[in-house]
């Protein structure tokens, strides 16, 4: 909850700024802010609504036109049951069509609803919205060492060339020496060919040992790591379609991420919250990693098979079976990792560790999940030091920040790289 509040605060700050500028320019009243609406839409509405398509609830394009009174619409969003009770014709028709009552959103202010409606109007105007182009995704972390790797290759090549030149020069030198000796009539022993020269052989062995060792060690370190692991799943579930195109909040399905160490694979009843209604896939073409075209509707049918849902009868007709998903992100037994710690206390975005998940049809392991990778992040990431009262006990750091000795406190400084933070 805290997290959301703070986002809102920040957004408020932005909107106040926008508001001030707007007031100076045109003396107009506060205008609804579609950008703010987008965030609200994604966290509150997207799990059941799309702008263009019917999901669990109706497509929202033109929603304002369909309601007789904007006030009534507001009321409907705040508490749909109350509107139904008034006997409003349109509202009751809606309910009869979808057979699901819309949950109340008493926390949304009227301004919030206006923002959402502005966002819907904007999307409607754009005709489909920014499908898949979620510009809020942070860039996948750049590997800072990429540049230096290129350099080392360059240096390697130069070293090799220089070595060859040195070798040739040495040969020339020895040949010249030999010629000079011959000329002077000094008897010199016949030179050993270089492939029999013990110095050369030793050198070659040494180089091979080092190169071999390098690859062996690298290979050994990589054992058990499975970066880029992208197994085939029992159902072709596309994150691009769900949180991407349909903008369903990650936490709607992975509810554990805020509460538990496990983010949780959603139980099938969560899937069926929407898929009771959505039985056909009507989005763009889907392709798997091998380039084979995937029939989205058939994949939804697989889900029905698992949960025992009869799409025609609209009823559960068989006992459900769990879906045996293949686990992608595997940490060893001796590592304790807690999602809620990172999401709630650390305020990390899912994408920090899971990459541009909203653009992926099939999920792959984005990070290598190695200890070095964890530690690197803990060294550079700043904790919410001033905002979280938990850290009030770190008096010295607070003083240092105040005195300007340090500008921020990293996870490492509060003990985040110690063994027993993750191993016990």
């Amino acid at each position: 909850m805290y997290r959301r509040v703070s986002i809102r605060m920040r957004k408020h700050f932005v909107s106040v700024l926008v508001l001030c500028v707007g007031m100076i320019a045109s003396f107009s009243v506060r205008a609804a802010d579609p950008s703010k609406g987008k965030a609200l839409f994604q966290s509150n509405c997207a799990s059941c609504h799309n702008v263009q398509k019917k999901l669990t609830g109706p497509a929202l394009a033109g929603v304002e036109g369909r309601w007789s009174d904007k006030k009534l619409l507001h009321q409907w969003i705040h508490n749909s049951a109350a509107v139904l009770a008034t006997g409003d014709q349109y509202a009751n028709a809606l309910y009869n069509e979808y057979k699901i009552s819309m949950p109340p959103f008493p926390s949304l202010s009227d301004a919030d609803v206006d923002d959402i409606l502005a966002y819907i109007a904007q999307q409607e105007a754009q005709g489909g919205g920014d499908k898949g182009k979620d510009n809020s995704n942070p860039n996948p972390t750049q590997n800072p060492e990429e540049g230096s790797a290129n350099n080392s290759l360059l240096f390697g090549i130069i070293t090799l060339i220089l070595a060859v030149v040195a070798l040739i020069l040495l040969q020339i030198n020895s040949n010249l020496n030999k010629l000079a000796a011959d000329k002077e009539g000094v008897a010199v022993p016949e030179p050993v060919p270089f492939y029999k020269n013990k110095a050369y052989i030793a050198l070659v062995i040494l180089v091979m040992f080092m190169v071999g060792g390098y690859f062996t060690i690298n290979g050994a370190i990589g054992l058990g790591r499975q970066k880029d692991y992208m197994p085939e799943q029992p159902i072709f579930f596309s994150h691009k379609v769900h949180p991407g195109m349909n903008q369903i909040n990650c936490l709607y399905c992975h509810a554990g991420a805020e509460k538990s160490k496990h983010a949780m694979i959603p139980s099938e009843n969560i899937c069926m919250n929407c898929h009771k209604v959505i039985s056909e896939y009507s989005g763009g073409d889907l392709f798997n990693a091998e380039g084979k075209k995937i029939n989205g509707t058939a994949e939804i049918a697989k889900l029905y098979e698992y949960v025992g849902w009869d799409a025609n009868a609209k009823a559960y007709t068989k006992p459900g079976k769990p879906i045996p998903w293949t686990k992608i992100h595997n940490l060893p037994d001796h590592v304790y990792f807690n999602h809620s710690q990172h999401v709630v206390a650390g305020k990390q975005q899912c994408q920090t560790c899971h990459g541009p998940i909203t653009e992926e049809d099939e999920v792959h392991q984005f990070a290598d999940l190695s200890m070095g990778w964890c530690i690197n992040c803990h060294r550079t990431t700043k904790v919410q030091f001033a905002d979280n009262k938990y850290y009030s006990i770190f008096e010295k750091f607070h003083q240092d920040v105040k005195d300007g000795k340090i500008d921020s406190v990293t996870v490492e400084m509060v003990g985040g790289t110690e063994c027993q933070k993750c191993h016990y």
């Binding site: 805290y2 050994a220 054992l223 058990g224 499975q226 197994p231 509810a255 554990g256 509460k259 538990s260 160490k261 496990h262 949780m264 694979i265 959603p266 139980s267 099938e268 009843n269 969560i270 698992y306 949960v307 459900g320 079976k321 769990p322 879906i323 045996p324 998903w325 293949t326 686990k327 595997n330 060893p332 037994d333 001796h334 304790y336 807690n338 809620s340 710690q341 709630v344 206390a345 905002d387 979280n388 009262k389 938990y390 850290y391 009030s392 006990i393 770190f394 008096e395 010295k396 750091f397 509060v414 003990g415 110690e418 063994c419 027993q420 933070k421 191993h423 016990y424």
Partner: protein, 1035 residues
């Protein structure tokens, strides 16, 4: 300062050659090569060496480069709302086995119980528990439990069983039906039984307690007209006199009494006072070991002592002659103290003799205990068995006068003194049904086995003390095809109500609403809003008659031996013997594991050619004795214990279970219940006539007593109350020697002080910016009961190693309780218990020597252990002055990469038993070191909760398992940097003069401090002091 001599055994006291040898050879953990002799002499040719090298490298490569297995993530089909994977749920429940009453909170993860702790809302027991309560969660996953109902040994369905039993009941034709149970403290269960009785008028209910208290019940009836047990209030007692009652270990409800007694043993430095505890006993019990004054006697003398005490407090009886002067003086002393504290003292007795208990009641009446320390208003239901009823039942069974026998929660074929007669009678009975959870000694002879649930799978309620209720609710769906005892009985009495509904209806009727019932289940307890006033009772017993009967009790002659039976703290009456945790818990007094044995004094052992002081303690082989009493005999190894009466042999009951009891209990020790005898009214748990002879056999016992020696370094500090009042600083006088190093006793934790800064290799002392964890252990309120050891084991997945490995000193307990004897009187030593666990030193010697930095220091003051980094050099254990590091010599848990390395003797590794493992703590593989982590998983969890809520960590949110389990609140834990925390206040305000660190002079700067023990005894005579002092210098 005067240094008192402490010793773990007589060899240490006399510092024998053998003792020095074992001390020099500090690590008894020899390399585990049984055939090391031949191995060391073998020559390994160079080629062989190369072959092995090549093979192992290749094997390691193949093993390591195998493909990573594909793992599945299986979600719920329909997730229960209350379960979030990874987040524990807590349910209130109650441990109500055999009449013990401990309200609990059960921690479940992903729907399986993994840990129990006391329920904070209970005013009787609070968060405390005992070793057996802690171990009960493992009993749930006992692989030897019955998994389905059986008819004549063959699996049956419940409906078939119901049909056949129904038919059999109908066919009895009015022949009596008897239900035989242990003490039942559940009002609703009693109502179900009453319902059955209503249907079958020939029915009767017999309560049988394996270890009987019917002497007390009958004496109370004779004295006060109530066949009940009063509620004892040790917290109100300034003087406690116990005649053989082990109220801190096994007597009635030890958690409750430990909590009360502990309150009187806490020292307020500003106003130092504490209770005075006199103890008279034959064997040394945990309670006796904690007494201020302890006297030993033969078991048959208990009555005489009670009479002498009654006489001395002014009762109208003549005192029998007591020849032992020390004992006679002790009685006079105790009487004096009782008289001086009229209305503030209490006398309790463990005897099962009605007459002895009548005399004890007379004493209590004389000293004004009724209504002040003994409450007759709210009586307790802890034991209800009357021995003569059971005696009659066995007679009836053999006479064929019983038509049907239902057995629930008792095992008389094992623990009845005349088990054979019972079993024969059982076989003669037409309809026999057992509700026991195991196919135990009794159940194997019944026709119908209708196994009941484990209490963690059950619904139920319990009324420990009148008006004090606690509830039981299922924390897991039944693991097997079992059915609640009450449900079965309801079905057979023709009541179609489900048991849970029956219970719910009962309580909704009592409480008024569903909401009140829900709240009751959530809280777990219902107690009177204000504690009812204590009530007295007027004594109306016939003292003269009781005295006369005591006079006729059979006694042994001078120098003749007597036998006494006792319960061990961990195993108790043997019902829960199939529990590897409890079997491996070192007995608080003998420090022995996995066995029972004949405990004798050194003096007696000499007559069997075995004696402390030669190589007795070094060798685990003990001489086996043949012990004969009551016409029965048993072969048991002897174990020498300083402090037992020289003419007494003590043997623990609860051992010698048969193979059906399960892997851990089967064949461990010998059953000695057949030494119990029936005196016409009650059962006696001693025998005045015993013949003992030595055999040529020897037997190995896994005693942990001499593992880990401190080589006589001072680690215990103690003083007497009198001296402490005179000069509180005296107990820490030796600290003055540290002054020269800049030690500031007023501020020992000042990281800027020279003492902390100097003498370390590293110029930067650790800075603890946020949290600095610290623990304080009060030696005055540690009674050595071992609840913390098992709590730690349950919380941290500590391995069970088995007897063979204990003998090799490979036990794994992170927290051990060292038992030291003090003083020089070998027959009457003083005892100190010291819990010893990783001290989390700020200048830790282990950290400096680890070649791979697997153990290092955290910014919160925890000495961290990264198991996966450890390569097993054991340098750290070598360098630890406290000997608290534990090495995994074997793969106890199947945690190794190689499959067939598992070494499991306790039966801890089948899929069922492994469900008890705490998923937040990794199981350690072979070859790594481990030790106490301060329950870091609990600390991290508490911190995370605070962090997520965006608030500072509150004191008391992070509690270690040992701290929670301790009934006497001996352990205080918290953030030392927080000036409002209890630990800060204990160290800096409340207990400044008693606080010390063990081996402080080594400058390891431990994070655990101890509070010096204070005995409420008379100051020793000046001469004695000198002698002791001298002895120390010689040593």
């Amino acid at each position: 300062m005067e240094q008192k001599k402490y010793w773990k055994g007589l060899e240490e006291l006399h510092n024998t050659k053998e003792h020095q040898e074992i001390v020099n050879n500090e690590f008894r953990e020899d390399l585990p090569f049984e055939e090391s002799e031949s191995l060391l002499n073998a020559t390994t040719p160079r080629r062989d060496f190369l072959k092995y090298l090549g093979f192992t490298t290749a094997a390691a490569t193949i093993a390591a480069s195998c493909e990573i297995p594909v793992k599945k993530a299986i979600p719920y089909v329909n997730k229960p709302e209350e379960i979030t994977p990874g987040v524990p749920n807590y349910y209130a429940s109650t441990y109500a086995v055999d009449g013990e009453f401990v309200p609990l909170v059960v921690k479940t993860r992903e729907g399986r119980p993994i840990k129990v702790d006391g329920n904070e809302l209970s005013s009787i027991t609070g968060t405390s528990s005992t070793a057996r309560v802690q171990g009960s969660v493992l009993s749930l996953y006992d692989a030897a439990r019955l998994r389905f109902p059986t008819i004549a040994g063959a699996e049956a369905t419940w409906s078939e069983l119901d049909k056949q039993v129904g038919a059999a009941l109908a066919g009895l034709g009015g022949a009596p039906i008897v239900l035989l149970t242990s003490t039942i403290i559940s009002p609703s269960t009693k109502k179900v039984i009453a319902g059955f009785q209503a249907k079958y008028p020939s029915f009767r209910h017999v309560t049988y307690d394996a270890v009987s208290y019917s002497g007390m019940l009958l004496a109370n009836e004779a004295s006060y007209g109530k066949r009940a047990l009063p509620a004892y209030h040790f917290e109100n007692a300034k003087v406690v006199v116990s005649l053989n009652a082990d109220f801190l270990g096994t007597w009635l409800n030890p958690v409750e009494y430990s909590k009360q007694y502990g309150a009187t043993r806490k020292i307020d430095e500003k106003k130092p006072e504490m209770s005075k505890h006199f103890h008279f006993e034959s064997m040394m019990s945990v309670t006796g070991a904690n007494a201020d004054e302890r006297y030993t006697h033969k078991p048959s003398q208990t009555g005489d002592i009670a009479l002498a005490l009654l006489n001395a407090v002014g009762g109208s009886v003549s005192a029998p002659a007591i020849s032992d002067k020390r004992l006679a003086d002790g009685i006079q002393k105790a009487a004096k103290a009782l008289l001086a504290n009229n209305g503030k003292s209490i006398v309790v007795a463990g005897s099962n003799d009605v007459n002895v208990q009548i005399i004890v009641n007379a004493i209590n009446s004389q000293i004004g205990a009724n209504g002040t320390t003994i409450d007759w208003n709210s009586t307790v239901n802890y034991r209800q068995g009357i021995d003569s009823e059971m005696e009659q039942l066995v007679k009836d069974l053999n006479a064929g006068a019983v038509g049907g026998l239902f057995i629930y929660g008792v095992n008389p074929s094992y623990d009845y003194y005349n088990a054979q007669a019972f079993t024969e009678g059982l076989k003669k009975t037409k309809l026999t049904v057992s509700f026991n959870s195991h196919k135990d000694e009794t159940s194997e002879n019944v026709k119908f086995a209708a196994p009941a649930h484990h209490y963690l799978e059950s619904w139920g309620d319990a009324e420990g003390r009148t008006g004090y209720f606690s509830f039981i609710q299922p924390t897991i769906a039944p693991l097997f095809k079992t059915r609640a005892f009450e449900a079965t009985l309801l079905a057979w009495s023709g009541n179609t109500t489900a048991w849970e509904d029956f219970l719910k209806n009962e309580w909704i009727a009592k409480l008024g609403s569903q909401e009140a019932w829900d709240k009751a289940l959530q809280d777990g307890v219902i107690e009177p809003a204000t504690a009812p006033a204590l009530g007295g009772a007027s004594f109306a017993g016939n003292v003269a008659e009781a005295a006369a009967k005591i006079g006729s009790i059979k006694k042994s002659g001078k120098d003749a031996l007597e036998l006494v039976l006792y319960e061990k703290v961990a195993i108790g009456n043997g019902k829960e013997a199939n529990n590897p945790w409890l079997q491996e818990m070192p007995d608080p007094i003998t420090r022995a594991t996995w066995d029972n044995y004949a405990v004798i004094s050194n003096k007696l052992a000499k007559t069997f050619g075995s004696e402390l002081g030669d190589d007795y303690e070094i060798n685990n082989d003990k001489t086996v004795l043949k012990i004969k009493a009551n016409g029965k005999e048993v072969l048991l190894p002897l174990l020498i214990l300083p402090g037992i009466h020289p003419e007494v042999i003590a043997i623990a009951v609860g051992y010698g279970r048969n193979a059906n009891a399960g892997k851990a209990a089967a064949g461990v020790g010998k059953n000695v219940y057949n030494f119990v005898s029936f005196n016409g009214t009650t059962r006696d748990f001693y025998s005045p006539e015993v013949a003992v002879e030595k055999t040529n056999q020897t037997y190995e016992i896994g005693v942990t007593q001499t593992h880990n020696s401190y080589e006589g370094r001072p680690i215990i500090k103690e003083t007497t109350l009198e001296e402490f009042i005179k000069n509180p600083e005296e107990v820490n006088e030796d600290r003055k020697e540290l002054d020269q190093f800049g030690y500031d006793p007023k501020n020992p934790h000042d990281t800027t002080s020279n003492f902390v800064k100097n003498g370390t290799l590293y110029p930067d002392v650790h800075q603890y910016q946020g949290i600095k964890w610290g623990m304080s252990i009060d030696l005055n309120t540690c009674f050595g009961c071992g609840a913390c050891t098992i709590a730690c084991q349950a919380e941290n997945n500590v391995s069970v190693v088995g007897k063979e490995q204990v003998i090799k000193a490979h036990e794994m307990h992170w927290l051990r309780i060292d038992r030291y004897f003090g003083g020089t009187d070998v027959d009457n030593p003083e005892v100190v218990f010291q819990p010893m666990l990783c001290q989390h030193c700020d200048n830790a010697p282990c950290e400096n020597v680890c070649p791979v930095a697997a153990t290092n220091h955290s910014s919160e003051g925890i000495n961290q252990m990264a198991y996966n980094r450890c390569i097993g050099t054991r340098y750290c254990a070598n360098n630890c002055p406290y000997k608290v590091r534990r090495f995994n010599w074997r793969d106890w848990n199947g945690a190794d990469s190689f499959a067939n390395n598992l070494y499991d003797v306790g039966g801890m590794n089948d899929d069922l038993t492994r469900m008890v493992l705490n998923p937040d703590v990794v199981v350690r593989s072979r070859g790594v070191m481990e030790k106490c982590s301060f329950c870091v998983q609990k600390l991290q969890d508490a911190k995370l909760t605070a962090k997520k809520a965006g608030r500072p960590l509150k004191d008391g949110e992070a509690r270690t398992a040992c701290q929670l389990a301790c009934s006497a609140d001996a352990i205080v834990f918290g953030n030392v940097n927080d000036k409002e925390s209890r630990i800060y206040k204990v160290r800096n305000e409340e207990q400044k003069s008693r606080m010390y660190y063990v081996l402080e002079q080594l400058h390891v700067l431990p994070s655990i401090n101890y509070l010096a023990k204070i005995r409420n005894k008379d100051a020793e005579k000046a001469e004695g002091k000198k002698e002791e002092h001298a002895a120390h210098h010689e040593a």
